[in-house]
Amino acid sequence: MAHKWKAPENSKAILVDITKCIGCDACTVACKMWNDIEFKEIRRFHAEDREKIKLDAYHWTSISLHKVEKDGKIVWRYAKHQCLHCDIPACAVACFATALKKYPNGPVVFYPNLCVGCRYCMLACPFDKVKYEWYKTFPWIAKCHMCPTRIAEGKAPACMGVCPTNVMTLGDKDEILALARKTIENDDKYVKHIYGEKEVGGTAWLYISDVPFEKLGFRTDVPTKPMTYYSYGFQKYTKPAMVGWGMLLTALYLYTKRREKIAKEEKK
């Protein structure tokens, strides 16, 4: 089914090389510093708990530890999680208030002033990356916005800027994809798959790894077409239905009012 959404042409993309991550969590702290997110709780983990680390409104990005079997040995791998910034973001499609916007240079940015708090974006996100400020009286959603002001200036996002082992590489999407392909082809240790290249039509964050992605907490059962491909058929009626419903009710109101007026006049 056709849909009117188009992936931005040659946006920025970030390649995450999981094999280089040492789990120092500098990116988590940098994200909090740059985005002024509160340190509500100090997360201290046992190794087992770390496998279950999830994003929440306080953690727009986080690192989870996975003990994976590789060549008969248990190895540790750290995976960085944050919003993947889909080329055609399901959250932005679902948002009838247009509080989520995909920028032409990559980021999917949240506009709190427009948000009505319906949480459709949370349901729409195929990767479950949109979180909610459950603890607040007037909550908003919370997610990584890929530091759009930094991207616009040509700088790396806060998390990437502090990485001591250069896990992430920023660049134009076609160049980054070419780099990813070259890396996994030239090195046998890598799994021959670029996560985010085809998933839901492509994402701005791409991952390469030497262990299968499903063992690192990544969803691999998502379709390769954008989610809106499946939902546009009925979602396209949202706005007409909303406006139409309003118009219908207004018309009914005007009609009944006029009828009452006439009835009153007739009684006289």
């Binding site: 094999t19 040492i22 100090i42 983990f45 190895v75 001591p164 030497d210």
Partner: protein, 503 residues
């Protein structure tokens, strides 16, 4: 009536009920707020080193971290640990527990993992016989936590403070150092004379960070490390066997605490191999050292108990394991182990004491990264030794030896921290980052005290002599090997999993 209520309300408001907010009932802790605004993003952010959340030695508070990268400076630049490994990582957060990152961290985000609570619990437990030992380097640094200039000698005050805190016995790790010298120099003597079929050089084993470093980066050299345990382990094992027997104390009731200038000792105490006394008694649960406190933690305990080190009388260590020689004392400084070892090794080789004018072994002293020296021992020839401090220097030396540039050493002393134990990761943070001036002041004090002592050779220590006569028979005896030389498994690994977490 309404007017009265109104007055009461107004009074309550004016007198302070309006101020009843959380700021009064407790702050939120010290947070570098200036960096928690995006417009105040620090001028320089460089990331940080990984620290295992379950590390037994080092802890980090993310809230205070400003990502300044000073820990990287210490870990990668000074100690050559961080990023000196291949990626991807295998199954560990590579860390030698040296704690230099603590000394460099400007916001004190990185600290030691506190053991104060465990020690306090043991002190309050009437069934526990709590024994404490203090490392040589602590007595020239503890004063700094109480405003005294670096290098102030507070040995007696430290003992008094520990007794005031409620420790049943206060022993000296310098005594353990003397014991280590007896064992290590004997081992060295036996290797040189060919009794043991082992290759030279012999590396010292007192520094657990160095041992772990060797296990990580130079696993082929592990068998060159002396089989002796560290002074802390030796004192712990001796207390739980010899001292317990002598005084009829159930070894399971003894709780040994060590005051160390070091965070790696926390990890060493938790290593599976460090239960020689447990194996002696047939109860693997008994550990040689139950808890390790850094000098900073001791100062914290003293401050919360209202003890000021400057206002205390000087007290002596408790007998039997409390007397030490100058040789044991200078363990705290780089080159000290080598100097003390040569004083005693000379005796083993020649059956005569080292002449007094040769006691000061100047070439191994000082803060030069890699120090080389040689000793003429009559009848044996020239013994060539090297002394390195700082793991970065160690890597330089070992790589040079690999390339065949520096060879022919008989013995090499390695201390992981710059300056030796006096610059350890558990010392007061008196200079940030730590500098050579501070290290020099602490070192000079140790050497001055050694020069003033009558007893400077470890094998002359009367308590050491008595210990061998009454218990261990002679250095290198079967019992000494059982208790003072930890048994490492084949293919030993510095794995974090290897640490038995009993917290």
């Amino acid at each position: 009536m309404l007017g009265g209520l109104g007055t009461v309300g107004a009074t309550a408001m004016l007198t302070g009920c309006q101020h009843f907010d959380k700021a009064i009932v407790g702050g939120e802790g010290w947070i570098p707020k200036q960096y928690q605004r995006s417009k105040y993003w620090p001028a320089q952010v460089r990331g940080r080193i990984p620290i295992h959340p379950e590390s037994v030695s080092i802890d980090r508070n993310d809230e205070k971290c400003i990502l300044c990268g000073q820990c990287i400076e210490a870990c990668r630049g000074v100690q050559s640990v961080f990023k000196h490994y291949e990626l991807p990582i295998v199954d560990d957060v590579i860390c030698v527990d040296c704690g230099q990152c603590i000394m460099w961290c400007p916001t004190k985000s990185i600290t030691e993992k506190s053991s104060i609570n465990q020690v306090m619990e043991a002190l309050e437990d009437p069934n526990k016989f709590v024994v404490v030992q203090t490392a040589p380097a602590t007595r020239v640094a503890l004063g700094e936590e109480f405003g005294l200039p670096p290098g102030t000698w507070v040995q007696g005050q430290q003992v008094a403070a520990l007794k005031e805190l409620g420790f049943d016995r206060v022993f000296d790790t310098s005594f353990g150092a003397d014991l280590t010298i007896m064992e290590e120099s004997k081992e060295f003597y036996k290797i040189v004379t060919g009794v043991y079929d082992r290759h030279l050089p012999l590396f010292t084993s007192c520094c657990p960070a160095w041992v772990k470093f060797c296990e990580y980066y130079y696993p082929d050299l592990v068998h060159h490390i002396s089989s002796c345990g560290s002074p802390m382990q030796m004192v712990g094992a001796t207390v739980k066997t010899y001292y317990a027997k002598l005084n009829n104390i159930d070894p399971e009731q003894i709780y040994t605490v060590a005051i160390m200038p070091c965070t790696a000792k926390k990890a060493e105490a938790k290593r599976l191999e460090m239960n020689a006394s447990g194996r002696y008694w047939g109860n693997e649960e008994i550990r040689d050292a139950d808890a390790v406190l850094t000098v900073r933690e001791l100062a914290q305990m003293m401050k919360s108990a209202g003890i000021d080190v400057t206002a205390l009388p000087e007290k002596d260590y408790d007998p039997i394991l409390g007397k030490s020689s100058g040789g044991g004392l200078i363990f705290g400084a780089t080159g000290g182990v080598m100097e003390a070892c040569m004083r005693t090794a000379y005796y083993w080789f020649t059956k005569q004491d080292l002449p007094d004018e040769m006691l000061d072994f100047k070439p191994v002293r000082g803060l030069k990264g890699i120090k080389e020296a040689s000793v003429e021992i009559p009848g044996v020839g020239t013994i060539r030794v090297a002394v390195v401090h700082g793991l970065g220097n160690t890597r330089v030396l070992l790589d040079a030896m690999r390339r065949g540039e520096k060879t022919g050493y008989h013995m090499i002393e390695v201390m992981a921290c710059p300056g030796g134990c006096i610059g350890g990761g558990g010392q007061p943070r008196s200079a940030l980052p730590p500098n050579d001036k501070l290290r020099q002041e602490r070192i000079e004090k140790l050497y001055k005290k050694d020069a003033l002592m009558k007893l400077r050779r470890s094998h002359k220590n009367p308590e050491i002599k008595a210990l061998y006569e009454n218990f261990y028979e002679k250095p290198g005896s079967k019992l000494a090997y059982k208790l003072l030389h930890p048994v490492y498994p084949e293919g030993r690994k510095p794995r974090t999993d290897n640490i038995n977490i009993t917290v």
